[in-house]
């Protein structure tokens, strides 16, 4: 691998890692900070992508579709928390798994009824359509760099809100002891409703932003769900910084796992193992630090 190619692959891995962080950010909030196991995270991601496709088609502009899509998903999140999720904070995790798994089925059916089963493409907005030439025959799409920028902004914002603001402090306190926070005179129920809605909106936002590069199709949520949990688990439950580091690590491992050749006894091991590399990383991290890289010691 020449130095030029290596640098491009490094860029690929950072870019993929940042995209992973964006996709997992909503889960970091809902599962990592609030402690609710949300299997329906992928479904929210899919809803976002379909919203981007359908709204951009009807409004004629991706930029108009974004705020409207975010508003709709915030409403969806508030409604879900009010109707269902808030009944489960005191229950065992298994109830949360069951409920959110049911939500996946419901949303997939709704998607089939509302939008059908076709594969759709969302055009990249005109302003970001260009590509930057990197080598003599390879260019880098500007939209991917835009995604990376958005990811960094989201990461920074989340870190600031959760670590540095009063709201963040309340949320973190609520995750460790709800009743205590409640008895201090804070309406923790309302705070959690808002945080859950933000989590749903983040997942949907990721789906919307990713839609132009990933295309929009049934079952797309299932594809991102597992990798999102891997990001949160490797990074450490409750840590935004951890999720970012984990996503970047996974980006590196996945990218170079696909292209590096490693011969052991004449058998080319690495590309063959590339499907597993991410999970091997997770296993290694869990052996080394069961609470994740930045997780608080339980």
């Amino acid at each position: 691998m020449s130095l030029g190619t290596f640098l491009v692959q490094l860029l690929n891995s950072v870019q993929y890692g940042l995209l992973l962080f964006l996709v997992a950010s909503g889960l970091t909030l809902i599962f990592g900070i609030m402690g609710v196991i949300n299997i329906a995270h992928g479904a929210f991601y899919m809803i976002g992508a379909y919203l981007a496709w359908s709204l951009a088609g009807q409004l004629g502009s991706f930029w108009l579709a974004l705020p409207l899509g975010i508003a709709l998903s915030v409403i969806l999140g508030l409604a879900l928390e009010w109707l269902l999720i808030n009944k489960l904070y005191d229950r065992d995790h298994l109830y949360q798994v069951l409920l959110t798994y049911g939500l996946i089925l419901v949303f997939e059916e709704l998607r089939a009824i509302l939008w059908g089963n076709d594969v759709h493409g969302v055009p990249i907005p005109e302003q970001l359509k260009a590509s930057i030439p990197l080598t003599e025959n390879l260019s880098y799409p500007v939209y991917r760099l835009f995604i990376s920028g958005v990811c960094l902004a989201v990461a920074g914002l989340m870190y600031w809100v959760i670590q540095k603001t009063r709201l963040g402090m309340i949320v973190r306190a609520g995750a460790s002891n709800r009743d205590m926070v409640q008895s201090l005179g804070i309406d923790i129920g309302f705070v959690y409703r808002v945080v859950f809605a933000v989590g749903v909106a983040l997942a949907a936002f990721a789906g919307m932003i990713a839609a132009p590069v990933s295309s929009v199709f049934p079952g797309m949520g299932g594809q991102v769900l597992i990798i999102c949990f891997v990001v949160v688990v490797i990074g450490g439950v409750g840590s935004v910084k951890g999720a970012l580091v984990a996503a970047l690590l996974i980006g590196l491992i996945d990218t170079f796992g696909k292209v590096i050749e490693l011969d052991i006894a004449g058998f080319n091991v690495l590309p063959e193992l590339s499907g597993m590399s991410v999970y091997l990383l997770m296993a290694a991290v869990l052996l080394w630090r069961p609470q994740g890289i930045f997780g608080a010691r339980p």
Binding site: G4, T5, Q9, L138, S214, T255, V259
Partner: protein, 405 residues
Amino acid sequence: MKQESEKKPQARRREFLKQGSALGGLAAIAGVPGLARAQSSGPVKLGLMLPATGTFAQLGSAIENGLKLAIDEKGGKLGGREVEYFKVDDESDPAKATDNVNRLVTRDKVDVLIGTVHSGVALAMVKVAKDTNTILLIPNAGADAATGPLCAPNVFRTSFANSQTGYPMGKVMAERGIKTAVTISWKYAAGEESVAGFKDAFTRGGGKVLKELWLPFPNVEFQPLLTEIAALKPDAVYTFFAGAGAVKFLKDYQAAGLKGRIPLYGSGFLTDGVLEAVGDAAEGVETTLHYADSLDTPKDKTFRLAYVKAYKTQPDVYAVQGYDTGLLLAQAFDKTKGGVDKPALIRAMETATVDSPRGAWHFSKAHNPVQDMYLRKVVGKQNRVVNIAIKQLDYPPADRCKMSS
């Protein structure tokens, strides 16, 4: 989704039990000889095991539509007998395949089994069909093994073999003087077989495959591999992707600036059913397949008109495969005059020539279609025919199948 579709066959079972007991009652009145007669003159039982839910649901319904169109053109009869359809949703789930196919074979006692889209499910069907000596028609699944090492006298495929759609592209590219190529696909049976077919013809024609690039299925993070392609600088790229993965690949290939610099070729599934979603990223891409959008033959025109009239939607390659399955059944049952004697039906199918919208085809010794393979080019939102890449292609070689009769 899962629960609902598990309920469906249940509900159907009840329906058929009712019908079955009604028939049984009649037979009881008429006495035992009546029962025997009912079995040879009652309806022909077709067992349809296709996906009705999940990713392949639309393919399943296109196949069923095509099949029924062909039989309806015969007055809804096969060899003069009424047809009764028994349906199971296979959910494209190999884990449930054996149970599902046993429902049709053991419970419903179908005369002919038809299915399916997913190769893993289809191979489970082949196994049951062989064990129970039931005639099986595969209207899509391309796994080479079904008409290769696992072939059987009672198993026929009316669609294609995976390697059959890759082989013609290798020949075309070698003939164009392309010296080097890189292949990229998912690491699963369909991808591996398609690439193997391509490689066979391409290297035979003097070409060299610089590198085979693989992704685990259904991973769609192509960027590292596109970087690799740019670094390897081949004359051309051969690819097998389908569905949403194909959409993303074509778009990423264009966004990486490779389109127009390194020509992209592929198996026809790359550009079938996805052109609306892909936009201009597919323009000019050439692929090979056993069907195309603009064949312009009288048979194809008639078929397309009839299909649109019946179902209010455009037919695709899957609808054609279903239609051909129906044509084959009609022809075979005409020859046996409605009889379900297996050796007679099998002989009738082996000697049949199916006058299909895709062009006439017949079965190879391995029971895979020997058919024209078209070179197509994406123009606008259509896969236009450029020419016939290979006439009456019999591939993969039928000697991979050792049939025991």
